[in-house]
Symmetry: none
Subunit: 311 residues, 2 copies
């Protein structure tokens, strides 16, 4: 019977532990759960999050796989003591939640909802009629599982979607660009920009002052990707001049975002508390269970992390 350790925080253990064990049973694998104090040499699988207690995995000599509860694995990739195959979470619920967040905030910007909600003073303003989505160019940086799903959903809503990835991609209905030249092309047209790139050395501060200046005047930004993708000071400067009209930020260099941070009080920023891509137990547990089943059967693991690429 394979031994399964949870190196996650208390809240995660309570929310994810029982559904994962249940999903394993449903997948035909009877796993024995063990706590973080169990002898590491006996552990076959570890379900982990960056907030978990185990930091040194050098004594986990028997590990068949390390299964991340989260999509972002940059802190786990950097852990040199973790040599076992590492799988990131690709939660069908996560993609749905992200798509709903991005579609909702894109439509909020597109429809001018903030202005509509503020216009409750008795003054009838027909000029609040928005353009059509087909007239609204939207850029999506990052065309992985999440970025591609969001780009497709925005396209189905009628938006003119231009996507960008490091390497060439082809997605039906999306105008896909790549490389440095392609990035400029996407930024120059994106009235709404969605950033869904992974955190890697190549994406750190990708949106610096120079690249933010390529966006059309009054562009809006939605960042549910990673806090490091955007140069914070350059973002604040672009918002202060009005070059950028508004930003909705779900991820930050330090989370929780400290109470005194300028983002909270900036009139052109909406802070959301890392809720766009919450892993949800009901949809994530079967993904973990399926990978344990595969490993036990000697099959290829799903969502294996390429440690060189960093994701």
């Amino acid at each position: 019977m394979p031994r399964l350790m949870f190196s996650v925080d208390e809240d995660e253990a309570a929310r994810f532990g029982p559904p994962i064990l249940q999903a394993c049973r449903a997948a035909g694998v009877e796993a024995e759960p063990c706590g973080p104090d169990h002898p590491p040499e006996q552990v076959d699988y570890v379900v982990l999050s960056p907030a978990g207690p185990v930091r040194d995995f050098s004594r986990f000599t028997r590990l068949s796989a390390a299964l991340s509860l989260w999509a972002g694995v940059e802190r786990l990739v950097g852990n040199r003591t973790l040599a076992a195959p590492l799988c990131r979470m690709v939660d069908p619920g996560l993609t749905e939640g992200m798509t709903e967040y991005v579609a909702g905030h894109a439509l909020r910007y597109h429809l001018g909802l903030d202005a509509v909600l503020a216009a409750q003073d008795g003054d009838w303003r027909p000029e609040l009629v928005p353009p059509l989505a087909r007239e609204r160019p939207v850029g999506v940086l990052g065309l992985g599982a999440l970025g591609a799903a969001c780009a497709a959903a925005l396209s189905r809503l009628g938006f003119r979607v231009c996507g960008w990835s490091r390497r060439p991609r082809k997605i039906d209905g999306i105008d896909c660009r790549h490389g440095e030249v392609g990035l400029g092309e996407v930024l120059r047209r994106a009235e709404i920009l969605v950033t869904l790139l992974p955190e890697t050395p190549a994406t750190e501060n990708l949106l610096d002052a120079t690249r933010l200046a390529l966006l059309p005047p009054g562009a809006r930004l939605i960042n549910p990707g990673r806090g490091t993708l955007i140069d914070d000071e350059a973002l604040l400067a672009a918002l202060d001049t009005g070059a950028l009209a508004h930003a909705t930020l779900d991820v930050f260099r330090n989370e929780p975002l400290p109470p005194g941070h300028r983002f909270w009080s900036h009139p052109r920023i909406t802070v959301t508390p890392h809720i766009a891509a919450a892993t949800r137990p009901a949809t994530a547990a079967p993904v973990i269970a399926e990978n344990i089943r595969r490993a036990e059967a000697g099959l290829e693991l799903l969502h294996l992390v390429d440690r060189d690429a960093g994701y």
Copy 2:
């Protein structure tokens, strides 16, 4: 060079005038715009709305066509001084605009955007994570062109959509109900209800106190259909008790909604100024231009009004 008069209000003239002249040029017709004070005997075409200044068209002896900016022509049909061929607006953007409005406000309710926008005080609240759309039942009353398009868009976003129409309908991915029993079934499950029924004697006050009471506690309502569909007093009562959590209303018994109306100041109501299904310059201008091109070429006009039928 044909002379084109705009008998529309000032706001309409500013928004529609330039795109219409540009669309005429694109259609190969150079039209000369003229104001409402121009000698009427010289005018070839009039673009008109019920709010326009010209009411007596008896001296417009040269008119090739009268082109309405709006789909509803009931007030123009009644004008006995207007003898020229009258065309109503059939704007392909209307369904798109409606769909975007409904999707945006449904996602606003689903994601709890109003609470998110209010939570900018430095307090990190992970409990703002919404459920998934697949867990959110949405009801759509009315499955005509607009209702069916909105139901389909909501279904593509992941919502569990239940639709209702007077007569049986079948739409892929939508749980369709009909008749009085079906109405109760839809209302009982709809956490978000969208009303897109036409105005008829049978739909007047369809949502009265009894039917509103069938909605789940804390339901939200979006009415971009007709102001007469809902009993105003019953709606206010349901909002006051909190049985209904919120309503977004785009249409009213009297428009513009008078400045002192309770809807404007109610904390659980968002008023939008009949913008969900507005005629939009970008999609409407080519329709006007195409009819001018046709008239100039001696071809049949599009969307010609049958004055006996009234539309």
